[in-house]
Subunit: 365 residues, 2 copies
């Protein structure tokens, strides 16, 4: 199963870390009027931002939330606390500005790019809603593939193109926040996370928006069925196979967007568990994508930690999630909440005086 | 040892939680278009903000960083990686806008109220610097009291008056961020934390701005000496005694400011270990102050966790620190980094649609 040429080219273009910029960032951090390393995890964040962007003092002036919504046939298996119609209703809520992500993106100064990646219900035509028209909802992964590989390719390409048009048009794009909406979408995410990390469904399946013990058991059975149906795939299985067998349309769009952003050295700020599974797929296609991934938060879903670890997004690696607030909302809410921390960190890097400039005694001088 | 009448009145005026506002906030959170409790710790933050302010949807339009600087005689005992002159130099850096807190406060939209609470060196006259003139640096707590009780009272009253004039003058004050600068000030903080929590100096003394193993041992000995000198006081010792024996002038100013803010239902956002020790003193004088305390972060200093726990600022109590980024900078940097999270949370509370308004199906309807 092959990627098409366009996606293949994208994967090959993704640069690794800009070592010179990262070293210069480290040096600048040590020259600023503060005890060395006293900004803790923000210092490694800044070094990683320089490694991603190849800029010593990067700015974030045009961040955008790519909010992809889709439905999931597996919702029929009774894995979510909410009926599938809520996906449509929430897209309408995004359009009227009433959802959490509307408030958070406004507060953080990020625009929202809202895309119907494959919602099952009827949505109005609206200038604020991009529609892909690939299919209405994915298949029920417990019993059939989520989508045809051609559909997965199409959705990934659409995601990549959304990013490409965002950064070529005003106001540009210098940080991509991934965001999802889709009733039942922690189920495909758990399946993908089991495949990539090797962890059993008992470890990757959580309560999503808040299911009870009986539904949790059912959700674990469903993920086990889905994995068995396609022969218990693992990280050696081609990413496009995993995506089309176990994924979802919003996950495919976000995976493609991740590749396109990484290819342009645009840092990608993950939200929660679903967007992280999109990053698993993207990193499965192009491992160097991880240079450009940033973890906004660690959610209440137990599998999220496993997925972040698989991507190397840990505190020990200097790439830990910025927030741990037991969020489990999705919609890009965690990413939008963490964005101001990144803006603050970049401002420190640009605006603080050095010991020399301020006439402050450094400990070693 | 008595407080003067003015401070006593302040302590008596501090209100407990506004239960009705807190209950209404909880109800509103459950009506917003999101899965219940899906905002995790931000929901308990919002309920606590309502309990503090007595407003269901509070706004933060006029936050201020009260940045108090002072020197400490105990710096002579070799407990800091930096020479004492750095306190003066950093105050000058604050005045030219070159320090971390300048960048972070600007990013978060908070103004800085800079006060020389007792710096030992010479500082220029500057319209951006308030000077108390109580004394130049505190005593060496290993060998003598930090200050006379009258000086402690004076410094507390000055802090209270700073807050009072801030909220009575334009643009007002609706959130107080506590901030400190003072070479060696983790040493008095460790001594105060040992006294309040009962933890040994081995647990309350940390590496501050980054001392080595030998200095860490020395710092523990110094804190042990300080505690023994005044008879190993504990939480039953009058707060004013603890403050004057073991504290510092910036700690006293911040403790007084905390009392004045709490008396006006102005939420107080703590920074790191030093500001939390000021809150220990304030809560020692008036336990209901804790209703109005908010933990911005948990720092790299091991004693900070103990001090936060003593104040009930834990995740289990729905009052955990918002950030854990291994910061150890002080200056209010952690508070300023956390402020945007609070602004985001209050915006969610004000701007999100309810299930009814947005026509979204709630799980129970």
């Amino acid at each position: 199963m092959h990627l098409d040429a366009q996606l293949q080219t994208l994967c090959e273009r993704i640069p690794g870390p800009a070592e010179a910029a990262a070293a210069a960032a480290r040096q600048r951090l040590d020259s600023l009027t503060k005890p060395r390393h006293s900004l803790g995890q923000l210092e490694s964040l800044l070094v990683r931002l320089s490694a991603s962007t190849s800029v010593v003092c990067p700015t974030v002036n045009a961040p955008a939330v790519l909010l992809a919504a889709a439905d999931h046939g597996v919702a029929n298996e009774g894995v979510s606390a909410y009926p599938q119609v809520v996906t449509v209703q929430m897209v309408q809520n995004f359009l009227i500005g009433g959802a959490a992500i509307n408030a958070l993106a406004a507060e953080a100064g990020a625009r929202i790019i809202l895309v119907d990646a494959g919602v099952a219900g009827d949505l109005p035509n609206h200038p604020g809603l991009l529609r892909l028209g690939i299919r209405r909802g994915s298949g029920n992964i417990a019993r059939e593939p989520a989508m045809h590989p051609d559909e997965a390719r199409q959705a990934m390409l659409a995601g990549a193109q959304l990013v490409e048009s965002a950064y070529t048009q005003s106001p540009g794009l210098d940080m991509l926040l991934l965001a999802d909406m889709g009733i039942a979408n922690t189920t495909p995410t758990a399946a993908l996370t089991s495949a990539y990390t090797g962890a059993a469904p008992a470890e990757t399946v959580g309560r999503g928006t808040g299911i009870d013990d009986a539904m949790l058991e059912q959700k674990r059975r469903v993920v086990t069925m889905a994995l068995q149906r396609c022969g218990n795939p693992d990280r050696t299985t081609p990413a496009l196979t995993l995506l089309s067998e176990l994924g979802g349309l919003e996950i495919a769009v976000l995976a493609g967007a991740t590749l396109a952003a990484a290819a342009q050295r645009i840092p990608i700020l993950l939200d929660g568990y679903i967007t992280t599974s999109a990053a698993l797929v993207a990193a499965g296609l192009a491992p160097s994508v991880t240079t450009h991934l940033f973890a906004s938060h660690r959610s209440a879903e137990p599998g999220h930690r496993l997925a972040l670890e698989h991507l190397g997004l840990t505190v020990d690696a200097g790439a830990g999630p910025l927030l741990q607030l037991d969020l489990r909302l999705g919609e890009g809410s965690g990413a939008a909440l963490a964005l101001p921390l990144i803006l603050s960190a970049t401002r420190l890097m640009r605006n603080m005086a050095t010991f020399g400039e301020a006439g402050v005694s450094d400990r070693d001088t």
